[in-house]
Symmetry: C2
Amino acid sequence: MNLRIPGPTPVPQQVLDALSHPMVDHRGPEFSAVVKRVHERLPIFFQTKNDILSLTTAGTGGLEAAVVNVLSPGDTVLSVSIGNFGERLAKIAATFGANVVSDRYEDGEAADPARVQQALLDNPAISAVMITHNETSTGVTNDLQALAKVARDAGKLIIVDAVSSLAAIDLPVDEWDCDVVVTGSQKGWMVPPGLAFVSMSPRAWAAYEISTMPKFYFDLKEHKKSLAKGETPWTPVLPIYFGLDVALDMMLAEGLPAIVARHERIGQAARDGVKRLGCSLLAADERRASNTVTAVYPPAGVDVKTIRSGLRDEGFVVAGGQGGLSGKIFRIGHLGLVSDQDIADTLAALGRVLAKAAVPA
Amino acid sequence: MNLRIPGPTPVPQQVLDALSHPMVDHRGPEFSAVVKRVHERLPIFFQTKNDILSLTTAGTGGLEAAVVNVLSPGDTVLSVSIGNFGERLAKIAATFGANVVSDRYEDGEAADPARVQQALLDNPAISAVMITHNETSTGVTNDLQALAKVARDAGKLIIVDAVSSLAAIDLPVDEWDCDVVVTGSQKGWMVPPGLAFVSMSPRAWAAYEISTMPKFYFDLKEHKKSLAKGETPWTPVLPIYFGLDVALDMMLAEGLPAIVARHERIGQAARDGVKRLGCSLLAADERRASNTVTAVYPPAGVDVKTIRSGLRDEGFVVAGGQGGLSGKIFRIGHLGLVSDQDIADTLAALGRVLAKAAVPA
């Protein structure tokens, strides 16, 4: 099966092989060496000098960690939400007692920096801004640089969901001055799910010191303390670290600029391809369409179910729509381990499925 | 290296091989079949008809889930703590706002049902009792049946840390009427860390409905809803599920009674062996010594560091003491994938290390 969903993404054979490493003491020298090697190299892809913590959890757990470590109940936070995952981040903050000011865009739209600026002017109580870099549910990438600048100029803390962008779409954390940035192992990193990575700026650590949202498993200071010894505070998911150790070798060999360029090229090929086949993009402005996942409206009269099951018969798995987009769109994932040929093959299969769907027997 | 620590435990080769399964859609039919197979068989080892939820997290995350799903800030809970992990559970509850009444025993002691009964009489405000079944830090197994009976007779909710006992030491959840029971994949289950399992009784679900501790990632009702579709609410750690699927085959082939008997026999062999070599047990009453981990005082004049590094040179990894027991004891893990021969080999190596340590060159 060709897995063309926006995560879990396909994993290279040498990474799969590394998952089978026998267990070792998670507090012993062998594993400590792995943790250190991994954490020496993660910053290259975050393009940051900030601390990066690795947590045994799904991306959603990483988002929870981002929220509960820097906020307090009653804090007013702006949720800049362009889809399902933006809503999730807002819901986490509200669950833990934040006063969430919600700015929800239409599906397919990208966030507007001027509108964010106005919201911050309108509500000076806002202390932090939560932004999704790449919205997996709609295939839209926000102009994070411009959005972060607006939040930064207003002196707000910036919390970024970069789960489906980091290590695939350029996100220079230090240059764009983002305080808390979250990503997950099963996306750009070419390893299975199980680890989330969270970067914390000095401003984020200052916020930590006064944050009163309850945290134990996701307490990032405990992770920082343990990391200094090459350890994690709780028993880590060893196989994913073993896999990541190998995946980072591969990523470094390719180099971040080449990885980003490959995703740009393949994202463009995916968009050009689906349009050529009579589909249209959910992204309202193609310049903001994502290079890691393409959200696609089928041609009129062809339903999503037919396309997804037809593609499955051809050996390709694509994702459906989430929430209100269920049954309306399908999504092609193209991040991590993905080549020009992979996406050409996917488009060819889609062409055959559409041809079949359009011609009644 | 022979891994003789109380988790992560050694993983059979066929389980290691299963970890390398290529990624699949975590919302597709292949993975749904795995989730269903796993969840059909977990209840056999919990000996329960209660719901069991699987979470992508370490055991500590499972403990946090156990607490935040059934308690509210201000609830008075009794912590029956016989060591480091008992303290951890108490700290989680306190972090999330519970009023924790702490009953901490001396290291090596087991909890006394009469003392628990008295504590419940003394403080009628207590609504729940938190108990560690097997305390990994001291190698002591509580008489959970008697402790649970006392709590049950008093009408209290029972939260059990069974991380290092379940599937190795008998714990009939329904017969002993335990409401929330937590365990972790890297212990008795012969798979790597990354998954925690939590069982919830109808009384626990009733407590969930009025619980106000904040929860999102660990919200067990979300897990229950998704499980009905053979899914998890957040992206799961697929490789550990693939491994567990195979490990459960092996466990069923052996059968729970035989697994429990093997751990009893091997626990006894470990205790007899270390005593024969001039060591002594931390467990105050050997009848309460654990069958999954043996906590050992070295002979007078031999330090723990010498023993651990000597064993490492012999190819055996054992654990040290935690917290106040650091440098005072070492711990031999014997749970999950462990044979009579494994423990005989470990004891033989310990004998050689002690002989060398006792005779100055």
